[in-house]
Amino acid sequence: MNALNIKQGATSHSAYNLRSTYGDENERHTLAIIVENQPGVLARVIGLFSGRGYNIESLTVSEIDHESHTSRITVATTGTPQVIDQIKAQLGRIVPVKDVHDLTVEGPSVERELALFKVAGTGDKRVEALRLADIFRANAVDSTLESFVFELTGTSEKIDAFAELMRPLGLVEMARTGVAALSRGQD
């Protein structure tokens, strides 16, 4: 722990070099924010993002433990590494926030999103939609003679890909839940 070894940032040139230890590239991070489930807590978290100009790409929130009034908010956000660090620190300041996990850096994690697609069509298009749904392992949860509602679970990319395929086949409407994520492994 010698001061000379912690060169990170201490440079003989300009402060540009200081900040270049952080990359300038935008990164996508998935944060799991464990909060006390009290009124307004979601507004506090969202207000932080809007008030300080951070991005929210996806947001999911639900109570996960009724006994201890705990909710889990999963946010997918983008920003430079410096901004991501700042987001986590700012979230940590919110009084009812118990814990903030950056699943993107805390080892491997699984991310899933659920989406519903309404696809209307007849003839070949209808057959093709059903065939593709089968390939993607989407379930038909509603069906009429001229439409399907498919349910699909997977990564956001998989859902994007399926939506692209359905578009020319008569995609009418779609609903996505946003990302839910957990770290892999036993703890």
Binding site: M1, N2, A3, I6, K7, Q8, G9, A10, T11, S12, H13, S14, A15, Y16, L18, R19, T21, Y22, E36, P39, G40, A43, R44, G47, G51, Q82, D85, Q86, A89, Q90, G92, R93, I94, V95, P96, K98
Partner: protein
């Protein structure tokens, strides 16, 4: 129940303004003697007064206002306290729970409006939860980085009977870390041992941490012999008469302080936050230094400036550990190099950046403050300020020997702060000399509080440097907008002496430098509120100045070259 909870928290002073939705609490206050309530004339005044009280005592300030307009009028004060990390507990009345959401009379979404301008806030819908919430509110306001909290209490909750919980029974998971990481502290001490051009850069965090932090800071500075500068917020934590003191830094900081920040090889930031008033141009901020940062708020670290040695913890705890480690390793410093560093600082100091051209005909604002300093420095003195040129001059020309003696709106820059703040300070220190250094425009923003000062016999001294201009706005228009002085004139000013007299206070006017000392003495000795109208030079500019978008080593020292100093990029900054 509210009054009981306040008493259990040791509260004896509340600033407030009644209204329909808080009448039950006011009724409780009426029927007891333990808590004194000070009736202000505007809710903003109540919050600033509580800030003045808090900053001069180290205790949380308490405010009680009604719903709707009472709460919205408190918003500026809450934001001010949030940016300056001042502990406040603000209680607002709310319409009864069954009417919430119906656009009832004097209903506002108070917790919604104040969510971004409080550290935390609560709407209490259940009387059984009320006392517990109050105690938790004091805990949150005063622990970690202090800040304002607000509790919104619907009127039916105030009326209902409920279970009272004492302060000891409260469990809160909010427990910020106060001890700094020892490895990082050791890294800092190692850097201190070899640093050739070290500097302490201290801020309001030292004062917020309590008197012990200031004591430890003094011990550390004096025993290492390193120079120390401070932000506007941190003035007084190290005495202005101390021989390691090199003055305030920042946009209107001293030449020697800013150049020392620019040229140092080890910057030790203690309880400051690299605010934009301090850093100037970020790319060129102190380019050759190893930077250490002690802050209780993890989000302050690496927010604007990347630091090499981050230490999250309470200033007093961390300073104690730094001293312990430094002493145990043999109290080493690179004393020969530090000595030549001092020589360099002395050379910068020899420029005498605070010198100004005095006049025998008109009172220069700097001169007025120098005389005020001379004539009051031996008093038990507290200074508040408004916002603008006078605030910067006060910071430059008044000397602060102790913490909690200097109350100014640093982060938010709230004009109208100083007068009510001086009232809060005087309430806390009834026998002290409390002076609000003001500009005429700022002072008028909360002048209604003259009524409060009179009602409670609070002998606050309002020292107005009257240049009949919005001086700082005018200065920026001169530097930035081709001397087009758009709306920066104080037209239709009142006769301040008559204004004082209308309230029953004393008014003094002074325009001749020869009369100034006598007039100041008259102000000090008068037993009661005084409105001092000091007519000063109208077009004086505040120097030194780091223009927007420039670095520490590009300071302006005087009138000589001010045209076109701020380029297009700098002009969008504030």
């Amino acid at each position: 129940m509210v009054v009981q909870a306040l008493k259990d928290q040791g509260v004896d002073t509340v600033f407030g303004y009644p209204g329909g939705a808080v009448l039950p609490i006011y009724d409780e206050i009426f029927q007891q003697n333990g808590i004194r309530h000070f009736l202000v004339r505007h809710e903003q005044g109540a919050v600033h007064a509580a800030e003045g009280y808090a900053r001069s005592t180290g205790k949380p300030g308490v405010v009680l206002v009604t719903s709707g307009p009472g709460a919205t009028n408190a918003v500026t004060g809450l934001t001010d306290a949030l940016l300056d990390s001042i502990p406040l507990v603000v209680l607002t009345g709310q319409v009864p729970t069954f009417m919430i959401g119906s656009d009832a009379f004097q209903e506002a979404d108070t917790v919604g409006i104040t969510r971004p301008c409080t550290k935390h806030n609560w709407l209490v819908k259940d009387t059984d939860a009320l006392s517990g919430t109050l105690h938790e509110a004091f805990h949150v306001a005063t622990t970690g980085r202090p800040g304002p909290v607000l509790i919104d209490i619907p009127k039916d909750v105030q009326f209902a009977e409920g279970e009272y919980t004492g302060p000891k029974a409260i469990k809160s998971h909010y427990t910020p870390k106060v001890k700094g990481d020892l490895d990082q502290i050791t890294a800092l001490v190692e850097a201190m041992e070899t640093a050739e051009k070290p500097i302490f850069y201290t801020g309001g965090g030292v004062i917020n941490s309590g008197p012990a932090a200031s004591q430890l800071l003094r011990e550390l500075v004096d025993s290492t012999g390193f120079p120390i500068t401070s932000t506007l917020m941190g003035l007084g934590s190290y005495p202005a008469s101390g021989d390691k003191w090199i003055g305030m830094l920042g946009m209107h900081g001293l030449y020697e302080a800013n150049l020392a920040m620019h040229g140092c090889d080890l910057m030790i930031n203690i309880g400051a936050r690299f605010d934009d008033r301090i850093t100037g141009k970020l790319d060129e901020f102190s380019p050759n230094s190893v930077k250490a940062h002690v802050d209780i708020d993890p989000s302050s670290i690496n927010k604007v400036i990347h630091v090499d040695i981050p230490i999250v913890g309470d200033v007093a705890h961390v300073l104690e550990d730094i001293l312990k480690v430094w002493k145990s390793r043999g109290r080493k410093t690179a004393s020969a190099e530090v000595k030549s560093w001092w020589k360099q600082i002395e050379d910068w100091r020899a420029i005498r950046c605070l010198d100004y051209k005095n006049s025998e005909k008109t009172i220069k604002p700097q001169y007025a403050l120098q005389r005020l300093q001379e004539l009051t420095k031996t008093h038990d003195r507290y200074i508040t300020t408004e916002v603008g040129q006078h605030q910067m001059w006060a910071a430059q020309y008044l000397g602060f020997e102790d913490p909690n003696r200097w109350m100014t709106s640093g982060g938010l820059g709230t004009m109208g702060y100083g007068f009510p703040a001086s009232i809060g300070v005087q309430v806390a220190h009834p026998d002290a000399l409390v002076i609000n250094v003001a500009g005429e425009a700022s002072w008028l923003m909360n002048m209604q509080e003259m009524g409060t000062a009179m009602q409670y016999h609070l002998p606050v001294k309002q020292f107005i440097l009257n240049n009949e201009r919005l001086g700082m706005v005018r200065q920026w228009q001169e530097l930035l907008h081709g001397e087009r002085y758009s709306s920066s004139w104080s037209e239709a000013l009142p006769d301040f002496v008559k204004l004082a007299e209308a309230f029953g206070a004393k008014g003094i006017i002074c325009s001749d430098p020869a009369d100034l000392d006598d007039a100041i003495m008259e102000m000090i000795t008068y037993d009661g509120p005084v409105l001092f109208d000091c007519l000063v030079e109208k077009h004086e500019n505040c120097f030194p100045m780091i223009p927007s978008g420039k670095a520490h080593n590009e300071m302006l020292l005087g009138e000589a070259e001010t045209q076109g100093v701020i380029d297009a990029k700098g002009s969008v900054l504030v």
